[in-house]
């Protein structure tokens, strides 16, 4: 027999014993709950109800680099209803009158924020204390409604900061589908754009839970004693790289012009000191209760205030792109420091068409440094033709154009660098000629860049070819006060040798400081500024004015890139705008020898 040890009947008896004990224990436990504890538990199930409520944590604050508040929270109240209890009683119309809302609107809100028939659904937020007092006094008229303390985000106005801070709003059903339901509840506030969106998980904290007892009619009895509350964990505070003084200066350089963008960076580490989008939006309006009329007026505004111009706005780079072209030509051996092409007489004949130089009188014969200084189009037409489209595309991409910079914002445009394949797809194989190169060589034509990409490229020029990833976050401060710093991250290196960079920097230097430079308006007594002007052709009206400048020219600490829409030549408006921004920086940091007197207004 295979069995050994002890016999089958004995095993059977032990089995019966074990099972019998377990079943008996369960019966006894059930009897205990249903007789001795019955009265107590019955009372709990009938007259008292346990409700689980989320405790919303304080959203993290956002500071500038000098720890000045950029975004804070203001206390307010919000009102929710328990759908199951509202449908049974007829408080809906009363509620509608008290909140000055439509009954249908309340129903829509209930449907949108429904988490469960017995879970509070948010109806209205940002209610003043005076109106909440009415609910408090007459709570018996409004069974099934709950009000709770809430917070509303407050943003600085007028400094154009919404383009980086973004704003918050109620999570939409579409967003809910993609989010982790254990962290995001329907109706919760979530970052909708900018830093608020990108760093939402840092800022939002962790919801707490409290158990509250309510009576059969839904009136709050208070917290349950024997169930521990889980406190909410406040969100982390963010310290941004933004300098509010620079931000203020940068937001003021646009004068009467409606639209434009400014990017101010530290080329040594990629920190963004200011980011301005004109016209600005008021993030407070977006974060609170937006009326339909206001929304319509923003949507239909011809100046398109919703476009976040510094990172999402696309423009032809104009002559600012000549440094990319010159660098590519020097690197490929197409030209060297002394190469001169045929003389500029104010135009260049290609096929049976004349391409004009911006200077009708012509520049004569120039070397590359002088061509940059005077922004001679004819020189670059010839350079572009010799360089060829393949090299153009290759070097443009290697300089960071045509792709996102990876800045810590959720929405960023990639721009467009045309290539042979792109033209073939767009115009057909025989639909275009090498003539496109003439336009591309002076930054016109199909090419599109964002102000941030241009700033990033010039940061590389200023910083010996090393390009740090543009970023807005300097450090994170946890609720315990512990600070985690985020350093600069090397994104890529420009595809230029030391000699090439030297030539390009000489060119940029003479644009501002040279005798025939196009941007004398960017000069600052006491320091040297280098940069490049640009004019983006605009088929719909006046050209856009570009200037990218950095200072001091030999050891750059600050770089500003400004585009002013419809302001004409780069030299006329954008260059003095950049001067004012750099000046604000120098004033603040008291560089030895810098002129610290205030600059009054903008010289057109």
């Amino acid at each position: 027999m295979a069995y050994s040890g002890f016999d089958i009947q004995q095993r059977y008896r032990y089995g019966i014993l074990l099972c019998g004990l377990a079943l008996g224990l369960m019966l006894l436990r059930m009897l205990y709950l249903q007789t001795i504890r019955h009265e107590d538990l019955y009372a709990q199930s009938e007259s008292n109800r346990l409700r689980v409520q989320p405790v919303i944590p304080m959203r993290g604050l956002i500071f500038d680099r000098d720890r000045r508040l950029l975004v804070e929270n203001r206390a307010s109240y919000s009102l929710s209803v328990i759908p199951a209890e509202i449908s049974r009683t007829h408080v809906l119309s009363r509620l509608a009158t008290a909140l000055q809302m439509d009954e249908n609107e309340i129903k829509q809100r209930m449907a949108k924020n429904l988490a469960g028939r017995f879970q509070p659904a948010l109806i209205k937020r940002d209610i003043g204390f005076d109106r909440i007092a009415v609910f408090e006094e007459q709570s018996e008229l409004f069974p099934g409604t709950i009000y709770s303390k809430d917070q509303v985000r407050e943003y600085h106005e007028g400094l154009g900061e919404e383009c980086l801070t973004g704003y918050v709003g109620e999570v939409s059903p579409d967003e809910m589908k993609k989010l982790d339901p254990s962290i995001y509840r329907p109706g919760t506030m979530i970052g909708k754009a900018g830093v608020e969106k990108y760093y939402d998980r840092e800022l939002r904290g962790i919801d707490g839970t409290e158990y509250v007892e309510v009576t059969a009619s839904g009136q709050l009895l208070g917290a349950m004693d024997n169930a521990a509350q889980i406190p909410a964990v406040p969100g982390n505070d963010l310290i941004l790289t933004i300098d509010n003084d620079i931000q203020k200066a940068a937001s003021e350089v646009f004068g009467d012009f409606c639209c434009g963008a400014a990017v101010v960076m530290d080329p040594r580490n990629g920190e963004i000191l200011a980011l301005v989008s004109k016209p600005p939006n008021d993030a407070n309006v977006f974060s609170s209760v937006m009326t339909n009329d206001l929304w319509q007026s923003i949507l239909t505004d011809p100046n398109n205030p919703l476009l976040n111009r510094p990172v999402d706005g696309l423009y032809p780079p104009g002559s600012t792109y000549k440094l990319v072209m010159a660098g590519a030509a020097l690197e490929t051996g197409t030209i060297d420091r002394t190469t001169m092409f045929s003389s500029c007489n104010g135009g260049y004949r290609f096929g049976n068409r004349v391409f004009h130089c911006w200077e009708k009188r012509g520049h004569g014969r120039l070397t590359v440094v002088n061509a940059i200084e005077q922004s001679c189009d004819v020189f670059f037409y010839q350079l572009g033709l010799r360089l060829g489209l393949e090299e153009y595309t290759k070097f443009s991409r290697a300089c960071g154009f045509g792709q996102r910079t990876g800045i810590d914002l959720s929405q960023e445009a990639a721009g467009l660098i045309p290539s042979t394949a792109w033209y073939n797809r767009k115009l057909g194989k025989s639909g275009w000629t090498q003539a496109v190169l003439l336009n591309l060589a002076i930054g016109q034509g199909e090419v599109l860049v964002t102000p941030l990409q241009l700033a990033q490229f010039y940061c590389g020029i200023a910083n010996n070819g090393r390009v740090f990833r543009p970023h807005l976050l300097r450090s994170i401060i946890g609720p315990d006060g512990r600070e985690t710093s985020k350093g600069g991250e090397l994104a890529f290196t420009l595809p230029f040798s030391k000699e090439t960079l030297q030539i390009l920097r000489e060119g940029a230097y003479s644009v501002v400081q040279g005798p025939s430079g196009t941007a004398h308006g960017a000069r600052i007594p006491g320091t040297t500024v280098a940069g490049k002007t640009g004019t983006a052709q605009n088929p719909h009206g006046q050209d856009h004015s570009w200037f990218v400048g950095y200072a001091p020219a030999d050891n750059p600490e600050i770089l500003a890139c400004v585009i002013v829409e419809n302001a004409g030549h780069g030299s006329t408006y954008a260059a003095p705008a950049v001067r004012n921004i750099i000046k604000a920086y120098l004033n603040k940091h008291h560089l030895p020898g810098a002129d610290t007197t205030a600059v009054a207004g903008v010289v057109p």
Binding site: A2, Y3, S4, G5, F6, I8, Q9, R11, Y12, Y14, G15, I16, C19, G20, A22, L23, L25, M26, L27, R29, M30, L31, L33, Q34, T35, R37, H38, D40, L41, Y42, Q44, S45, E46, R49, L50, V52, G116, R117, F118, T209, Y211, N226, A227, A228, I230
Partner: protein, 408 residues
């Protein structure tokens, strides 16, 4: 007897008990979702009814098959199920963070349920035919390997509750196949050590007890030394294991040890479950009359916490009926295992009882606040088609074993 009628030749009492439980289940699912506005949820009881019809059909097929069929296919079935378990990890559909389901049109199917059956058949075949003596190392090792493969795959899904079932089957069949209880105790002693090591005092007392048992039981010097060393090792591993558990698993253990400390909603489940059962009293609030059920305070009330619906609406009477029906099935199954003259079928019957008993104790124990929340369904009663079909197959196997009854 003519072959066509052999399936009628069985004792109807066992399937009748299972059928009563299944019908209770459908009524309770109906009640649990009666007030739900969602038409899909409201109709869950109908789906369960269709599954029951399917399960009864499967039962009929099972008892029509000759016993040789099962021992012939045991290993092949086992191999197929292991492959399916591996496949579900890769291509299965993910719900609530676990990839346990294959979805075929409107039906979804959990291979882990049938893997239990495959493991049971394979182990029974192994134990019934092996010539190795009960306590031989090779026998223990081979049978351990047979369960550790599917258990590991299921643990990966992740489904701790179901993979625990495999270890329980193995342990129970070791016992049934004749290993001395002392050896069994020593074999699982490292796990006890792991648990005891949460507190140094408990661990010290445990170690003293272990040494006393080793001294008195004299299982052999080498064996004693190995057991002691492994116990020490496992005890010291505890912090490591703890850190490896998923947060929800830690939470469940913590809440079970101390329900007052309630860091998440799992404690809420236990509180609501106890309120539901206790408020039912001796006779309950009446069918469809449970306020806890109606007001949706009970989580997972048609699946894991279905026993609470019975406790609230029919009271102690209803709960006792369910427990007694299980009691009948369990005692009958044990009796069959002890009387069946075919060793293979006897082992299957013992294993089937083990699964039913373990899942029942864990599920009802959880509802009564006696066990941690594990998410194992209540056999025959909880909503879930695969589980229902699986338990009816077990009943079918027990019926086959019953035919080989032999009075000594």
């Amino acid at each position: 007897m003519p072959f066509g009628l052999r399936q009628l030749d069985f004792d109807w009492k066992l399937p009748t008990a299972a059928l009563l439980l299944s019908i209770c289940g459908i009524l309770l699912i109906f009640s649990a979702q009666y007030y739900n506005d969602d038409a899909n949820a409201h109709g869950l009881y109908l789906r369960q009814l269709f599954w029951l019809i399917g399960a009864l059909g499967t039962f009929w097929v099972i008892i029509s098959l000759p016993p040789r069929f099962f021992d012939f296919f045991a290993y092949i079935f086992y191999a197929v199920m292991v492959l399916l378990l591996a496949a579900v990890l890769v291509i299965g559909s993910t719900r609530m963070g676990a990839s346990r389901w294959f979805v075929l049109g409107p039906l979804s199917f959990q291979p882990s349920e049938f893997a239990k059956l495959a493991v049971l058949l394979a182990l029974a075949r192994f134990f019934a035919y092996t010539k190795l003596p009960p306590a031989s190392k090779r026998r223990l090792a081979l049978s351990f390997i047979m369960i550790i493969i599917p258990a590991a795959l299921i643990l990966k899904q992740p489904d701790l509750g179901t993979s625990l079932v495999y270890f329980v089957i193995l342990f129970s069949l070791w016992y049934f196949s004749g290993i001395r209880p002392l050896y069994l105790l020593l074999i699982i002693s490292p796990i006890l050590s792991l648990v005891a090591a949460f507190h140094w005092l408990a661990w010290t007392i445990y170690l003293i007890l272990l040494l006393a048992v080793l001294f008195l039981g004299r299982p052999g010097l080498l064996f004693s030394v190995v057991v002691t060393v492994v116990n020490l090792g496992f005890g010291m591993l505890t912090p490591l294991v703890w850190n490896h558990l998923a947060d929800y698993q830690k939470m469940r253990i913590l809440i079970f040890l101390d329900p007052g400390q309630d860091p998440q909603r799992a404690g809420y489940q236990i509180i609501q479950s106890i309120i539901s059962i206790g408020s039912g009293g001796l006779f309950g609030k009446g069918f469809l009359g449970g306020s806890q059920t109606r007001l949706e305070y009970l989580p997972a009330r048609h699946t894991d916490f279905i026993f609470c619906v019975m406790g609230e609406e029919i009271g102690f009477i209803g709960g006792a009926v369910i427990i007694l029906l299980f009691g009948y099935i369990i005692f009958r199954g044990l009796k069959i295992a002890s009387k069946c003259r075919a060793h293979f079928l006897a082992t299957i019957s013992w294993g089937a009882v083990t699964i039913i008993f373990f899942q029942m104790v864990v599920n009802i124990g959880m509802a009564l606040g006696l066990m941690p929340v594990t998410g194992l369904p209540l056999p025959f009663v909880s909503y879930g088609g695969t589980s229902l079909v699986f338990f009816w197959i077990l009943i079918g196997l027990m019926v086959i074993a019953e035919r080989h009854w032999q009075e000594h």
